[in-house]
Symmetry: C2
Subunit: 462 residues, 2 copies
């Protein structure tokens, strides 16, 4: 049992915990860290980072048949998921080690086990080895993230698996797999699995993929086409009614009367906050299990803050990091900050890379704004042509009167990077004219913003 | 001889001419176009776009030995420049056709030949077929670009060639090649030629590569190391004294006493404005041959404007497009504009991608500013690791007191795209704190800006 009074105990080391640790160390604070699993949490070990690793792999693999245009002479023999899994594990281990090395160098105690807050200054940790430790600190940050929702299904990690099972542990792909849920993780894992050789069916209750995001129809059409080129079956407005054993396979009965036999079912139906283990003092929660926090991310115990998937805000790694910075500030600085959720970009790494920030056309109309939109394809963008990546579009949303940019959507190469320019443009109130006249390097993908704003600023071509 | 009075004659269809045409058509203007060579000018046909095509090719090729980590099983047989040249020609032809198709659809007359301004409203064109045409217009835009400087050497297009010869016509690479000039084109062509299999020597008069750009030493070190990995010989502070025939090879004598025998010499020593043919009315020029223009880009004939490499401003495609938009505005709108050269990004696509905008540390100090800089490597950027592209750095320059960003340099993946965020940040006066707190998608390369600003905003780790 530690006698030391730390400035801060951080419970969970995902993007929120990581950012909190980094910020606190740089502020010279004396901290303790509790992590029940691997350093880096879900994002690094079983969500964002493995997904993008596999996505980089399959995106490149899909490009290879075109590279003879570059004079590259290849015999493409195939693609192996088990080998990619080894590579993925190494990449993640490299990143995890850089984190653990830093903690070691800075002499931060890392308590490996389940941390439970037992009073406002005390976290009791059931250590991996069965021993118990107690950590005393002035402040506590709960950054324990979320766990996959299971719809009450019997997830066995073998035949019925979650996205985490897939991304962390799966080393052999099934011949076929039914993915329940056509949200972000569903279309990402569906895409990469199809390229690695699985036959994929995505079952989605809503009338379209990615229904939680306001994707312009042009973007959704492109995504659907590219998924279908990979022979991915997409069943919208369909739910799973029953999953039964059928020999060593599963029989999945759907609401449309169909049934599919499959090797595996992947559950990708969202996540639920992970507060059950951490909370030993009865912090207030909302009806969905999120910790209640005030506008400064403070729980109802004044020195206990929370960030990330345990609070009710967009369940994204970068939301959590931003909130973590706000929490640390509010603990140790006198000038309090509020998290700003107005410009949180999202991106999807599926058969096409998608990204969006700010208001979609629909969002803007819903809140009563008059809008003007501008659409432009990557088809003739010179850099995109040079890179054999000229499929995609940009759609920008402007306030009709002022021509100020309200939002942007990008489908295509580097969408998840280009979106930050749009995000900053929105934040700074740029008009279509400002975006049109901005000097972009030639040739660059970014130049597309000049072209997208031609119609609005200069006049239509046709 | 045309009787029609056009609103505008555009001479030259490079980035400046193209932008002028696009803008004018969208404004509903009645225009004529003169082009002595291929539509798209140097940039499209023999500079930027072919370079980036080959660069995309070799960058991908260099990555292939690593892709077994992705589970990709390949037999890499080799890389062929002649085949790449075919691919390059097709890509450029695709882009050129989209331009010519547009002109056709919009019924814009394209005079193929050498246009010479003979009075303030008349351009006389010596057509390819030997006939003469005269075009009358209210305004004339000179966008005739530049030609490679030759240092008085006998360029034969076979053994002594320019970058244009290389990028437009060369279909077989020499076994070895001496590149005179270690500027942007020199290090770009040197890099791609080395990967395609040539032995390359770069001879540079100054004490370092890319001496015209203010590259931080960390960036220059990375570039040099990667060029040397390709066995590129770099001879700085060295000039070429003599080039002689030696059998079917060339003997290049250097100022350091060495001599090199080589198949080809590539001249890459800058460009000179191309005004000789266009000017039949004696427009004023400066001592280096640039057309003199006022702050509105007007020549000394009020209805004749000039943009791009013919005027004395940064010789970059995107400078020319920006100036073209300004010219068209100043011709047809009552509110005059001045070109803004304060935030022109540059980028280099060599063995590492480099990009810069705003003030370098040296620039800032030269003008008496107190600066604070921040450096961060891509090593642990999760997306860069996933993409097998985690080599590189970001260096940002801030005004010491205000912590406002003054400039940025990026070496690494997507540098030429990421730089636009920094450019907009400078334009809008963002501070290190603003950049640090901005919400970047996770994982993205762009997140590196949060990390780069940690030291300044939050404190150092060590």
């Amino acid at each position: 049992m530690s006698k030391q009074m730390f400035d801060l105990t951080v419970i969970g080391t995902g993007p929120g915990g990581f950012e909190a640790v980094m910020t606190a160390l740089r502020m010279g604070l004396n901290i303790a860290v509790v992590e029940k699993g691997k350093l880096g949490g879900n994002c690094l070990n079983r969500a964002c980072i493995p997904t993008k690793y596999y996505r980089s792999a399959v995106h490149l693999y899909q490009k290879l048949p075109k590279v003879e245009r570059y004079g590259i002479d290849l015999d493409i023999k195939g693609i192996s998921f088990p080998k990619a899994k080894e590579g993925k594990d190494k990449a993640i281990s490299f990143l995890r080690k850089s984190f653990s090395q830093l903690l070691k160098t800075k002499k931060v105690p890392v308590y490996k086990g389940i941390g439970r807050i037992i009073d406002k200054h005390t976290v009791k940790v059931e250590m991996e080895d069965g021993s118990i430790e107690q950590i005393q600190s002035r402040y506590i940050l709960i950054a324990t993230g979320s766990v996959p929702a299971t719809l009450g299904l019997q997830v066995d990690g073998e035949r019925i698996i979650t996205t985490e099972d897939f991304l962390e542990n799966l080393s052999t792909l099934p011949k076929d797999m039914v993915i329940i849920g056509g949200g972000v993780a569903g279309v990402e894992i569906g895409y990469l699995s199809a390229v690695y050789g699985s036959s994929i069916t995505i079952v989605e209750a809503k009338d379209r993929l990615l229904s939680g995001l306001n994707i312009p129809k042009e973007g959704l059409r492109l995504l659907n086409r590219k998924l279908k080129e990979l022979k991915i079956q997409i069943k919208t407005e369909t739910t799973v009614e029953k999953i039964e054993n059928e020999g060593d396979r599963l029989k999945v009965s759907l609401s449309n009367g169909e049934s599919i036999t499959t090797d595996k079912v992947l559950l990708s139906v969202g996540r639920v906050p992970n507060t059950s283990q951490v909370d030993g003092i009865g912090l207030s929660k909302d009806e969905r299990g999120f910790l209640k926090v005030n506008q400064y991310l403070q729980t109802d115990v004044e020195n206990i803050y929370a960030c990330g998937d345990v609070v009710n805000s967009p369940m994204l790694a970068h939301t959590s990091s931003m909130e973590a910075r706000v929490c640390i500030n509010n603990m140790f600085n006198s000038k309090k900050e509020k998290p700003d959720y107005s410009l949180i970009p999202w991106a999807v790494f599926s058969a096409v890379e998608l990204a969006q920030v700010g208001l979609s056309e629909e969002n803007a109309k819903e809140i009563g704004l008059q809008v003007e939109t501008a659409l432009y394809p990557f088809t003739y963008n010179e850099k995109a042509v040079d890179e054999l990546e000229n499929e995609g579009i940009v759609k920008l949303v402007f306030e009709k009167e002022s021509k100020k940019i309200l939002g942007g959507f990008i489908a295509g190469s580097q969408a998840s990077e280009l979106i930050h320019f749009i995000s900053l443009a929105i934040k700074k109130g740029l008009t279509a004219q400002d975006i049109h006249h901005f000097v972009y390097f030639h040739p660059s993908l970014s130049e597309i913003f000049t072209h997208t704003t031609y119609d609005i600023t200069t006049g239509k071509l046709f």
